[in-house]
Amino acid sequence: MAGFTPHTESEIKEMLQAAGAPSIESLFSDITPELRAKSFNLPKGITEYEALNEMQELAAKNMSFTASFLGGGYYDHFIPAAVDTISSRAEFYTAYTPYQPEASQGTLRAVFEYQSMISGITGMELSNASLYDGGTAIYEAVNMAFRGSRKKKVIIDGGVNPLHIKMLKTHAKNIGVEFIEAPAENGRTDLKALAAMIDTDTAAVVAQNPNFYGFVNDYTSVFAQAAENGAASILSFYPVSLGILKTPAEMGADIAVAEGQSLGQPLSFGGPYLGIMAVNKKFMRKIPGRIVGETTDKEGRTVYVLTLQAREQHIKREKATSNICSNQALCALRAVVFLSLMGKEGFKKLALINLERAEYLKTKLSEISGIEVLTGPTFNEFSVKLKKEAQVFFKEMSAKGFIAGLPASVFYPQDKNTIIMNATEKKTVTQIDLFIKAVKECV
């Protein structure tokens, strides 16, 4: 058993003596008998080697597959080696929130550059340092728009990630928001109908691009309608798609949010992920979480500090703009290294390769009779309608070693025969061809 504690018996004696305590137990005398633990029934400790073995055994109980075409908002992208190298630098990963700027310039500057790059890909004016995940970012965005407006309604495009909608509704349960969902028939929302739902009592409209079924939209007219009615426009975007797709800023969004997992974060069975948020200047003093700003020291040197802290919980307590305290700084660091490595051209190429692989898969699928690829513009994910139940098809495909995508019925019971498929840059033409061969046998 390792306690990771360095104390020797003689040191313990010496320290107790200095503290004027007869024993370690005497230091716990404030915990009177009636307050004591009634049980603490845990196994005995094990060695590091034994622990590693146990974890390896558990990890091996998860299956691996020939190829997976499962996305649903969380994508299997390649992570360049330098992302792990930099983020595992102990000076970054064993540091705390940079409250003491003189001893934390590394973290502060990395975050400042992260904020710059998020602005750089979204076109938005400024960004915070990171929220827990994409769902949190949507919730915080709605909260920010709702608190300021005294309006009740929040309109949600039916193409927004259903898990994020669930999160949003849970978090906002007690603050009096009235949610209205615009239905997405076969994955497509009628944008004119969506715009028509926005009126002067609307606090915010929430959309997602590409949407959960993979369709790419242009929300410019919807957001213009929102602006006219004094409602905030919130767009959830897929970071990698911004290599080519119209930006939130170009569509007129006030708040752009994203699940940042695709920027150098492993899938890791649900987290840690990265919540991205970028806003127009008018939200500068309302945006939740950490923000790093540039200033100078006495000698006029450039210094980075946590700033605009008057919004935060440790100063404002119940009047804070949000309760976020710990954030995802290390994930933001992974994202900034990822984006630096890609750079202007690489980021664009990455998006184009994603589009290319998905288009190839789409073309091959559309040649198979019994498969209907739902029409409409898409990025690296799209929906396919089968002649049989998607869950049945999924099972048959997994028996052949493939994860064929996400049966839509998991979240939309009415779409029984639809499966949502994704292909990132990691899917090779060979893998896709093998997949197509298997699809032909299962369709």
């Binding site: 064993t94 170009e250 987290g271």
Partner: protein
Amino acid sequence: MKNIFEKSVKGRIGVDPGTPDTNMDSRLDPSLLRKTDNMLPEVSELEVVRHYTNLSRLNYSVDTHFYPLGSCTMKYNPKINEVTAVLPGFINAHPMLAYVKEDAVQGALEVIYKTSEMMCEITGMKKMTTQPYAGAHGEMTGILLMAQYHKVHGNNKTHIIVPESAHGTNPASAAAAGYEVVTVPVNSAGGIDLSALKEKMNAQTAGIMMTVPSTLGVFEKEVLEVSALARKFDALMYYDGANLNAIMGKARPGDMGFDIVHLNLHKTFSTPHGGGGPGAGMVGVSERLADFVPVPAVAKTKEGKFTLDFNVPHTIGNIASFFGNFGVMLKAYTYITMLGKEGLIEVSEKAVLNANYIMAKLKPYYYLPYDRTCMHEAVFSAKKQVMHGVHALDIAKALIDRGFHPPTIYFPLVVEEAIMIEPTETESKQDIDLFIEDMIDIAKLAETDPDKIKNTPVTTPVSRPDETKAAREPRLKCF
């Protein structure tokens, strides 16, 4: 040092993702494409590596410096955690698989299930949810659980009681979940003021949030009286578990009458703080809240299979997209299994020993507002030094020059000029002694040469920043 954008040279690339077919973008209608170029830097892989490696060297961290940051538990985190958290079977597992193919992710579900079980035993709670992404997110989950409980029971509750000595996130979480916040002061011994509490608690009280041991570093001896009072009004008891490092094996929130507890896995259960995150904030509940926890929960069938359980009658809904920060859970699981029962008890004993040792040694030099046995952290005040014009902030900066990350200062708010020291259990007597020596030296210098302290730090690449300018003329990006 230039920023990464200033190092950019047109045409450079760090990692080549490959070459797409030409004219791919013509597949999409031009109205759907971006008109403006993205503004990312153009740098080589070496430039990226060198830039961020050099930035990292400007940081203090646990692996390089003693970091006695009160209420943040900056303990050493065993390196094995970093290995187990990135095993390919875990790191490549797509979370949606749990929804479409449970048998493909049995290992991951087993870790979640077993971590929850161990945490139930450690805290004495009935049921756990792993969903909350951080401590404050756990607090919000807790408040939402309270709200749902009262709603189902037809109670009309409007406010939540938060003692003055609570973490700042407590009132923020209560307010964010739609409650009014009522503050209760502390008594002269640093505990919750029971008579003030009796005045403020009534039928409209949804719950009370307590931090035990409190942010003053002391154990709340009155906790049983508080929970008896809360029962009278059907108010729920919330336990802020950020300070659990002090009491493992000694006391359990469940045994003390708490209904809800959040755990900061990244503090007590050893995940490095990553410059501010990620953490994880599991929440445990008592029997009467078991039917309210977020879905999906992870359950075990009679056949020993791990499965998603959506059957929670009064669930509050989804707090996370999936199961919370799984990577952090892997570290906690590794840590707990390695330490086991005796190891966890030892953690608390040594953390408390270290804190009391520091408190005893520094007591002659720094004002101690609550002079009693402390738990894992000791709260001083710089009151004595302020007489010479030296503030808590100056002491913090002087410590930086001496190679220590400063303690938490100006928190808790109830202590004027607070200096909150949490050495944690992993620090050796030798390193603690060096810290004590420097703290004493600073106290002496404050009397003889205060200016020397007020001009610190001088050893760091930058000196004290102009924070006012940063907030008045915000510059928040490179361009």
